[in-house]
Symmetry: C2
Subunit: 345 residues, 2 copies
DNA sequence: CCAAACAATGTTAGCGCTGTCATTATGCTT
DNA sequence: AAGCATAATGACAGCGCTAACATTGTTTGG
């Protein structure tokens, strides 16, 4: 006769943490009642609930999400995958997302892909393992394997930043292309004729802005390929300075430079200060995104303000609607953008 | 007689995702073998493993981490709680942490406390529910409830950024106070006599830098309280400009201003450019952290370089040692800092 | 005053996976 | 040839929790 209870503790109970059963045993009640005391307080008698909470605190009880997820088939996790944390754009989006998800009891799981589609793929896989109730992704284009996996598992997905015209794709953003075009047209309206476009990182959003730029210049009959400077390196303020130098070698008569984001543009402003190029008299400079610093630079930076926080908020709301099987009015929400004319152009 | 199998599917199997059992059934083998094929490939015959992987791909199988965590009492999760994502300092630390954890199969769970100890407390609680194998925290001081919880659960904890002399506290960082003192002494050595300290956010690290500043000036017999400007607002470039204005009202004869971080200092540089105050001739400016932009500003910014990435790397390594019950040589690692004298002072 | 509704708690089973301990087949040593 | 190690697979139980249903006791409406 082997004593069953002897076999009990062969396996490490998860680091000896207190469980619902521990609390229940101490109070001589059943564990389901303890569970209810936390999840459904109204269903447990006031007085008993207080005693449960007291014992729970004494024991340092923390609920085990893995067990809860497994039992309820609801993880309350939302996976969010973004390309970079060094880019304030995505941080703003995250804050928007978090503002909606946290109060509703969802836990955001954050993945950073470093602008690599391989990593993106790996992250989707890794976070699907957390059994998320939904996923938020930062772009529209994924590798076939990723799309296949997402379809198979059937998890609701919302895409941010860009717009899609496909029927079953849910997205919140604005037209990057239109924004690029708007800025270029603004520069044209200001009388600039030899307008350059300088870009780095070259993700799909950057490329879309470039298309908008090209469009506007072609329409105006002023497009010149030598004024396009695009490099794959990650954006930074220092890179903005270097690219300005290269641009001025490559096309010295340029009278306005449209940088694909504010980081590069700020670096260019510094480089101009260093080289004593007066902005905008000798060279106009424009950026994209309206980061918080861009209103403070000298000269202040002409740019396009993008509704990043709102994209996060509305994206999260759309995802919650999908999760709770409510109807989603529109599968695409265009939040637009705003031209910010300032001193630099 | 109730048909047992009829009762089977009453509960939603987690969104109908494929399970190990599904794969096993399809191949006429047992699920434990499928599990081994993924976790312990050497233990399963080559040929069988290939068939398993093929079927898994077909079904879009993704392992269920909740189940795995529950069964193995090892979550492979590491909770990391930081005060802010808008601050490049913490992003650099995260990159360091991730570099170590990812290849070892750990999943980093990120929480942002917005510099609030209430939120910090709530986050510790929320992430303990993920049954983390370890926790990385950004400071040393926690509310009693948090400390109590961490002790009760016995999860290994590593603190970053600051140093502690307490025996059982594990931390990786540098002395914020010494760094503040070093910068102040550098300014003194450069001949500045009326040195101000401007700070925002006022977390424990900022305050420690302030103590270093005060120390140095008191020792030099040059301390003057009216040159200390400290506000609780979150740091930003715009705030740096405003604080410079206030400082110059409050103490117009100041000849050097030490800002508690580079964001503020950069804002001050812009404000000087705007007001045509020449830096460093009329006013010297110094920052802290050596953010990537700080070498590119005009004039370039004198600052203290902090080993952020390395703090992340070494912190993560220390935590892994604790988790795997290896001996940890030192419970405190001081990574130092480096003065970066540049044009602004 | 009784049936029906409700409030408070309990019983049972199972979510998907893995630790532990078999079991069987195969090779290898002396 | 006997004995033993090793390789490949399987059976079983249980991690901590919760959905579904069951069981009490108590209230309420007519």
């Amino acid at each position: 006769m082997v004593d069953k209870s002897a076999k009990r503790n062969v396996r490490a109970s998860s680091s000896g943490r207190a469980t619902l059963d521990d609390i229940a045993a101490k109070l001589g009640i059943s564990s389901i009642t303890v569970s209810r005391a936390f999840r459904n307080p109204g269903k447990v008698a006031e007085e008993l609930r207080e005693r449960i909470i007291k014992v729970a605190d004494e024991l340092g009880y923390v609920r085990n999400r893995a067990a809860s997820t497994l039992a309820s088939a609801r993880s309350m996790n939302i996976a969010v995958i973004i390309p970079s944390l060094s880019n304030a754009v995505f941080v703003d989006i995250l804050n928007g997302i978090d503002k909606i998800l946290r109060p509703r009891g969802y836990q955001m799981l954050l993945g950073v892909s470093h602008y690599s589609s391989e990593e993106e793929d790996a992250l989707v896989r890794a976070y699907l393992a957390f059994d998320p109730d939904g996923i938020i992704l930062p772009s529209l284009n994924y590798r076939e394997a990723t799309r296949h996996l997402l379809e198979k598992t059937g998890v609701p997905v919302v895409h941010l930043m860009e717009l899609s015209d496909q029927p079953h794709v849910h997205c919140v953003g604005f037209s990057q292309e239109a924004a690029g075009k708007t800025m270029t047209q603004h520069l044209l309206a200001k009388g600039y004729k030899r307008i350059a476009f300088v870009a780095s990182q070259l993700d799909s959003r950057t490329l879309a802005r470039g298309r908008g730029y090209r469009d506007a210049l072609v329409e105006a009959g002023l497009y010149d390929q030598k004024r396009e400077l695009m490099v794959p390196d990650p954006s930074s303020i220092a890179l903005g300075g270097r690219l300005l130098q290269r641009l001025l070698q490559q096309a010295p008569d340029t009278d306005a430079a449209f940088f694909c984001n504010d980081d590069l543009a700020q670096g260019a402003l510094f480089e101009c200060a260093r080289q004593q190029i007066s902005v905008p008299a000798q060279l106009a400079i424009a950026g994209f995104n309206d980061l918080s610093a861009s209103a403070s630079t000298v000269p202040s930076l002409t740019t396009i303000a993008t509704p990043r926080f709102d994209i996060g908020v509305q994206g999260a709301n759309m995802l919650l609607s999908l999760i709770e099987h409510q109807k989603v009015n529109r599968s695409t929400i265009d939040l637009g953008f705003e031209l910010k004319p300032r001193e630099s152009a």
